[in-house]
Amino acid sequence: MIAGPSTPIGTAQAGERALPGPVVLGLGAAALAVVAVAGLMLGASTVSATGVVSALTAFDGSAEDVTVVDVRLPRVVVAAVVGASLGVAGALMQAITRNPLAEPSLLGVSWGAALAAVGAQVVAGIGTAAALVPVAIGGAAIAGLLIVVLAASGRAGLTPERLIVAGAAVSGLLAALVQGLLVLDSESLEVARRWLAGSLTGASWNALGAAAPYLAAGTVLSAGLVRPLSALALGDDVARGLGVRTGLVKGAAAVAVVALAGGSVALAGPILLVGLAVPHAARVLVGRDLAPLLMACAVLGAVLLIVSDIVARIAVAPEELPVGVMTALVGAPVLLHIARRGVTSA
């Protein structure tokens, strides 16, 4: 097998799908509903399932209802949205780089967004969600560009390993800079926890509203790119033969990734490894066909993050763990598994 891209990601291969797409998606949606309700039930105090339902349908201003609706509901929704966005972003990155290891936090995209956001807060005192979102997206864009340019330079070109090395170097640098800024401006540990591993405390409708346009744009763009990306998975030459403008498609996919990852980081900080674990699991469940894959990534990402957040909230109550700690503990074995099987066999 020659150097470079491996078995393409995204092509449907006969007999590879474990379960029919609609079945998996149905199951996924059910799982999502279950964990979402669990997220509303569990916390500093446990609310019964009927209590949750009554809070949502017949709100009566009691402490329990306010907890469910004002505190936990936005948090669960943001978790779902961020998880879905990161899952899809990971799948997109893996499709355009043809590398099963590409994902926002490993390749420094999340850290670029985090650095921009922390920098804006520490240096310029910008703190509102509305202002931080475009800043984070800008950071994500710059970091992503940097990595691609660097990994693609030189005679060897953009191979999976070079991409990972570039990603490790850039992530390491950006993470160190984030840590440096946090040390210089260390008022509270909450800020540090958020920006070192991601945290969903403080999830609010305001912030979600500020990030929503970008996340929506990224999602719409991804949906529109399904067919060209599937063609691209067959190889650049084949795709061109099919009339696909490969450069444009890759560029558009990169824009979608930046919007999704940047918006997610603005909401919750640089959550680790979600974009790696989720596409991997989704691929096992629905195969490589890109349309069901992206949908499965969205659903699985949402489920993963809601569950991680529940654990983060109750594991060491009344303290909270950063949600990124949970996702790292889930994502690292996936990374390990991929590493052991070999990078070039996705």
Partner: protein, 321 residues
């Protein structure tokens, strides 16, 4: 020789207990070298130190309370400056870093003759500091402020003055308690502090907690624990309730507090409905951690609880950022 050893041992034993009245045998404003026992051992101090460097806000308060102008002090966080309530006395003190990271070279450059801090904060750099000058460390900060003040007094050669000021504080607290009388039973005090993006509930084992206890003011059930602080989250808003709330802010960007205040549960709190949320100056009520701040806080408590007035800077609108 044996006599010296016995004297040293006695001093150590007594110093370790931190009792004030045991030092009454020492002459006032002593000028001969004395050994002061503290959390990291014993230090030999001669006379009344004049070039004092303090590495925390409690030590700064002690110095100013005892009439000593420190030559160097740390800021709570970078670029924050010294607490304003300390006034002109600290105007000329050189900033030698932050509480978290004092700049050891800057301290050395001042050629101090005494350095004050605590084991809790700066144990790791004790060795280096003690090479620069006699360094006296208290064990902890905050809840142990009275013991700390006595130790600072001994280190600064003003043990008697420290005792006098402490008695003044105690009398004042007693008097305030008596003035409030039976009203105290209906004045459960909730203490809430927003530190950047965190909101903390201050329970009983902290500086302000001891002052409230000295005045005889009860705490609401959720805060009636011998703990330092607990974290307030969106789900714990009911724990913030009381008959009176003292609310304070440190740093910038109080996003969590803003969010909590917009929460419906906040407006349902008894203390909010009764409009008894009082904003208090953070640098005095939380950073002061010393005898001077304690006496001023008693004044503030009097203004709020006896005279029923708000402190300057409190416009009665806690939701304003």
């Amino acid at each position: 020789m044996i006599g010296l050893l016995v004297a040293a041992a006695t001093a150590l034993a007594i110093g370790a207990c931190g009792e004030d009245d045991t030092t009454s045998t020492q002459p006032q404003g002593d000028t001969q070298p004395r050994r002061v026992a503290h959390a990291m051992g014993t230090s030999q101090i001669t006379g009344t130190p004049e070039r004092v460097v303090v590495l925390d806000t409690g030590e700064l308060d002690s110095a100013v309370a005892l009439g000593v102008k420190p030559v160097g002090a740390v800021e709570p966080i970078a670029a924050a400056g010294f607490p304003a309530y300390l006034g002109e006395t600290v105007k000329d003190a050189k900033i030698v870093g932050t509480i978290e990271q004092p700049n050891i070279e800057a301290i050395a450059a001042l050629k101090p003759d005494l350095i004050l801090s605590s084991k809790l904060r700066h144990e790791a750099i004790y060795d280096q500091l003690s090479r620069i000058a006699p360094t006296v460390f208290t064990e902890e900060v905050g809840v142990t402020w009275k013991k700390n003040f006595a130790l600072h007094g001994r280190a600064l050669g003003k043990a008697d003055e420290a005792r006098r000021l402490q008695t003044e504080y105690e009398t004042k607290a007693d008097d305030l308690g008596k003035e409030l009388g039976a009203k105290r039973a209906r004045t459960a005090v909730s203490v809430v502090r927003s530190v950047g993006d965190e909101v903390r509930i201050y329970e009983k084992a902290n500086f302000l907690g001891t002052i409230l206890e000295d005045v005889g003011l009860p705490r609401p059930p959720a805060q009636d624990n011998a703990e330092f602080t607990s974290t307030a989250t969106d789900e714990r808003i009911p724990a913030l309730d009381g008959d009176v709330m003292f609310l304070s802010r440190f740093g910038d960007d109080h996003r969590l507090l803003g969010r909590l205040q917009k929460n419906r549960l906040w407006s349902q709190l008894g203390v909010v409905r009764a409009k008894r949320v009082y904003e208090v100056p953070d640098e005095l009520w939380f950073l002061g951690i010393g005898n001077l701040a304690a006496r001023r806080i008693l004044d503030g408590l009097r203004t709020i609880l006896v005279k029923g007035q708000r402190l300057p800077g409190d416009d009665g609108n806690p939701a304003a950022a």
